[in-house]
């Protein structure tokens, strides 16, 4: 018994997975090309392949730690300030994201729950509009 939502192209949803991690628990990452031989990286590569094979992949990226963030504030359409660091100084910061296609929220939640980060919080947000879609 599947979803009643017809599986037409028109009804495919898009979701952003915002992956929040506790940076104090993260191993240092300073290489631009991750070591594909490590167990952790193999899991991420397998996960990416799963998204691609299932027709879910749109985009995805792992980000430098939040200390590398520069925050620009815009007021009334004009930049008013540039600050060093993320918008909120908390231990939990966005570590990466995926943009995926899924039939519905249940499928998206299943994909998000399979993300191979051992400890992470994944926010699943439906995409309202995407200019290049």
């Amino acid at each position: 018994m599947g979803a009643t939502r017809p599986g037409t192209e028109e009804n495919v949803m898009e979701y952003l997975f915002l992956i929040t991690v506790d940076e104090s628990q993260m191993p240092a990452r300073d290489t631009a090309t991750p070591d594909s031989g490590s167990d952790g990286m193999a899991a991420w590569l397998a996960y990416n392949q799963r998204l691609i094979d299932g027709g879910h992949w749109i985009a995805g990226a792992s980000l430098h730690p939040s200390e590398s963030t520069t925050t620009v504030t815009v007021v009334n359409g004009a930049p008013t300030g540039t600050t060093d660091g993320p918008y909120t100084e908390t231990k939990e910061q966005i570590g990466g994201f995926y943009l995926v296609k899924a039939a519905d929220l249940d499928e998206a939640l299943g994909l998000a729950g399979a993300i191979p980060a051992p400890y992470s919080v994944v926010e699943v947000r439906p995409v309202l509009f995407r200019a290049d879609a």
Binding site: A3, T4, R5, L105, L109, V124
Partner: protein
């Protein structure tokens, strides 16, 4: 045309058929909001026209036909291409085809499946618990937002907003009308919602009204619906039995002055024998499935009380065993508290006190101190008992419970 009171007939129609008709339209149109709004609009039309025209013989068929036509009207008015596309289901574009309505509302596997999907959708984990409760009462239970608001003593716009937001999230986040892969988890959420509604009717804290019969009865009605849709679930049957046993005692839970009456002081002749009998039968069917669970264990405990002819006849060792199993499953401190009370009855107050000392995290819970008070009184320690009852008194704002505690103190 029959001659019942039209207003009552509309309320009954909403309760009995609103959920099923909403489920059918939501599945066929692929649009829950459209289905709900159309059913509501049809019910408004019934309120307006039935007093003059009379109540139709087949009110359920009338509701499905009129709500479907309202949905088609909405689709024709809307500029949303997506909605028009979904409406291309050919069986829906033909108006004036009432012949199949009777069949649609009969016990039909497709309709039962659509109904189940709606019931499960309302308890999707992407919706918060308040939203799950409001959606279940409105979409499955056929209650109006005004009725829900009155039952929960909150302003009507609060419930309206809750339902609007939940329906918006269902649409924007793409929550599907589907039977989930993890069915047991969803059924568990459904049972939590139904029991929450039942308990809201059973005991409302902070007000003088001890029981609000309507929500408890609505919960029982909805649990019956869940049981008909999930006949293989032992826990759904367990919850229904539990609710029936608790409901059977409504007449004796408070005295003429609104004060709570303890179980052992209630007049058991006034317990509803039909509800106890049905509870026994439903619990037996649940336990024959050999899939035990927390609702069945709670029903076992409630059954022991309901079937004891006098308080002295209560089988406390069986109750204590059921609480021990329940504590092992749930790990709940409140269950351990109740286990200590039962052991105190089965093996004496000192055994109960020993278990109570091991209960953690309930220091601000009035019933922990009430239990201490009772066990200490029975252990011949009136001064300690008084201190415990007074602590309990300070921790509850329910007048009925306060009255009970004052009487316990006076009786020391």
């Amino acid at each position: 045309v029959t001659d019942p009171d039209p207003a009552d007939a509309v309320t009954r129609l909403a309760r009995e058929e609103g959920g099923r008709v909403t489920a059918i339209l939501a599945a066929r149109f692929g649009d829950l909001d459209l289905a709900d709004e159309s059913v509501q609009e049809a019910l408004v039309e019934a309120v307006a026209t039935w007093p003059d025209r009379g109540v139709p013989d087949n009110a359920a068929g009338w509701l499905l036909t009129v709500a479907r036509n309202k949905a088609l009207d909405r689709l024709r008015r809307t500029t949303s291409a997506a909605r028009r596309t979904r409406a291309l289901a050919p069986d829906l574009l033909e108006r004036d085809r009432p012949a199949d309505e009777r069949g649609l509302l009969m016990a039909d596997d497709t309709v039962a499946d659509e109904h189940l999907r709606l019931v499960l959708l309302c308890c999707h984990p992407a919706l918060n618990r308040d939203a799950q409760v409001a959606l279940t009462l409105r979409l499955v239970g056929g209650l109006t937002t005004r009725e829900i608001a009155a039952a929960y003593l909150v302003p009507e716009p609060t419930i309206t907003q809750r339902i609007v937001r939940a329906k918006r999230k269902i649409r924007t986040a793409g929550i599907p009308l589907a039977v989930p892969a993890a069915l047991d988890e969803r059924v568990d959420a459904l049972l939590q919602v139904l029991y929450l509604v039942f308990n809201e009717g059973y005991l409302s804290r902070g007000t003088d009204a001890v029981t609000r019969v309507d929500l408890a009865d609505e919960a029982i009605r909805l649990t019956r619906v869940a049981r008909s849709l999930l006949p293989e679930s032992a826990e759904v049957a367990g919850l229904l039995a539990l609710e029936l046993f608790q409901r059977s005692r409504f007449a004796t839970r408070v005295d003429d002055h609104g004060a709570l009456v303890r179980l052992e002081e209630q007049d058991r002749r006034l317990w509803d024998a039909d509800q106890v009998g049905e509870g026994n039968a439903v619990l037996a069917e649940a336990m024959a499935m050999l899939r035990p669970g927390p609702y069945q264990l709670q029903a076992v405990i409630a059954a022991e009380h309901a079937n004891a002819r006098t308080a002295a006849d209560t089988d406390w060792p069986t109750i204590a065993t059921a609480y021990a199993q329940l504590a092992a499953i749930t790990g709940s401190a409140v269950v351990r508290l109740n286990q200590a009370v039962a052991v105190g009855m089965a093996d004496g107050p000192l055994a109960g006190l020993a278990l109570l000392d091991g209960v953690e995290g309930l220091d601000d819970y009035h019933l922990l101190h009430a239990a201490y008070g009772d066990l200490r009184a029975r252990a011949g320690r009136p001064d300690q008992a008084r201190a415990s009852f007074e602590r309990a008194l300070a921790l509850t704002d329910n007048h009925a419970e306060q009255g009970l505690l004052r009487r316990r103190i006076a009786g020391l």
